[in-house]
Symmetry: C2
Subunit: 304 residues, 2 copies
């Protein structure tokens, strides 16, 4: 697709304002679009989901020529305008194999679009990222990583990355979570958001769905319930419940409050990560990475 | 020890300026002191290392009375001044069992001391936190977590916490790392800095020390060397090298660059965390947590 020859240099242009507005969840819903900021995330989006990207905004350093006025008013012509880095330049070239429009913008325009772009922002289709549970085929022994009321965008992106690294088949954001397409979630997932389906559902829907696919629901919880304490992770792995046949959904709680009793009562069991030193706990993202990777390593060993 | 009855309300007071200066490494070295910010870190310092704390600065909400002038000029008397939270109030009470001076300060004074205090800051002795390798007794089968050129304070604190949670016997910051007593490192270790000895040494000293204690040095590295690739973590665990007798030091590289070839050539072996999905890698803190906890869980299982 064409790279527009002009350079957009008016940060107040209507088109730019609309992209900038995508930092708001309300506007993302209204416009049906979301932003992918920075070379790493854009690279993964182009590699795995190029069909969802409509536009690419690339910051260019103005060339030696003076910028003349254009018919549209917001575009200035230069011949030597170049992206900020060879990495961005390559992404721009890669995008040309797809139906993606490239817009060159000046530094002040890019500042208006995103303060954290490192020279490149993609605008993608929101609806195309929405996944229904029925659309996620779960193979035998599938693993699902579920997060109840995860609120911090950085954490949310990090756990999506951890679930991807552990080879999980899907991620579920349960109940009132941060928006999956919040730009900080997209960025901190370092592209994993484009590798693995991320579903959102209510607690009730989650419980119904896991039942319908015959998945065991395992809560990651330090304590568990009275009379039914959490089983330490190594024991859980050793007892062989992960047989590679039944699907498993591991459910993690909110950053500050963990999981409420009402949910712990509905799960098949609770598992905790043993603390060997004097630290009382680990944060959510670290706990999720340890648990999911331990489960993944144990099942891959058994399959050898 | 006494709680001074007055409230320091002059942010320009010499004593306050000196505490505020402790955000600079140079000043920490000069004054021989460092800051512990926030209730969590202060709680762990009081619980595990009360002898290193000299002063406690507690923000108080001024009581109903007007603040009269005092002889010292910088202190104002009120009877009803109270810490900001019951958590802080309790820490203040706990500190009274030790040789710790408590100073009540106003909100603007606390702002000058730290923008991230949540109402409490301890000032502690720098020299008392310095640990020599000879002072760290390593039992049979000890585990050391070492980090080469770790630069980000948040990462540094997080990996100290992960090493603590995994029951490591010591942490080593190797070569040119962030200062262990940087306030952000202290804070993000969530008190683990007071649970576990943290040594600093050069690469050469590290190699000599590990040799002298007959420890195997295992590099955490995605690739390893040509002809000697990194062994996947599950295989490494299974082959039984961790026999609970020989000490092991796990060495992690810099956030961006990993470990250089010159160091990889000196280690006993390299181990990598297998990636099961499409994510290319995990960040340093997550990798360290997974590797150290996997090692810890495997050795605790064997001892059951």
């Amino acid at each position: 697709m064409p790279i527009h020859s002009g350079i957009i240099d008016n940060p107040k242009a209507d088109r730019i304002r609309k992209v900038s507005d995508l930092s708001s969840r309300k506007r993302r819903e209204e416009y049906g679009r979301f932003c992918i900021e920075g070379p790493q995330a854009v690279r993964e989006a182009i590699a795995y989901r190029p069909e969802i990207i409509g536009d690419l905004f690339v910051e260019v350093r103005a060339g030696g020529q003076a910028q003349g006025e254009q018919a549209q008013g917001e575009q200035a012509q230069t011949e030597q305008a170049r992206p900020l880095s060879t990495v961005v330049e390559r992404l721009e070239a890669d995008s040309q194999a797809y139906d993606i429009y490239v817009h060159h913008v000046t530094s002040r325009v890019m500042q208006r679009i995103s303060t954290d772009s490192q020279g490149i922002v993609a605008v993608a289709d929101l609806a195309a990222m929405r996944v229904d549970a029925e659309d996620v085929p779960l193979a035998e022994g599938a693993t699902v990583a579920a997060f109840w009321q995860i609120r911090d965008p950085g954490n949310a992106g990090t756990v999506i990355r951890a679930a991807d690294a552990a080879g999980c088949d899907a991620v579920v954001f349960v109940d009132d979570c941060v928006d999956v397409l919040n730009p900080k979630v997209v960025r901190s997932s370092v592209g994993s958001l484009f590798h693995i389906p991320v579903l959102t559902m209510s607690t009730r829907e989650f419980m119904q769905w896991t039942k319908s696919i015959h998945a065991k629901v395992v809560a990651a919880d330090v304590y568990g319930l009275e009379g039914r304490p959490a089983m330490p992770l190594p024991e859980y792995i050793q007892q062989g419940e992960l047989d590679g046949v039944q699907p498993h959904a591991f459910l993690f709680g909110n950053e500050a409050r963990g999981l409420p009793e009402s949910i712990l009562k509905q799960v098949d069991r609770s598992v905790c990560i043993p603390m060997y030193g004097k630290a009382e706990s680990l944060n959510l993202a670290t706990s999720a990475a340890i648990l999911l990777h331990t489960v993944a390593m144990s099942s891959h060993i058994e399959r050898i």
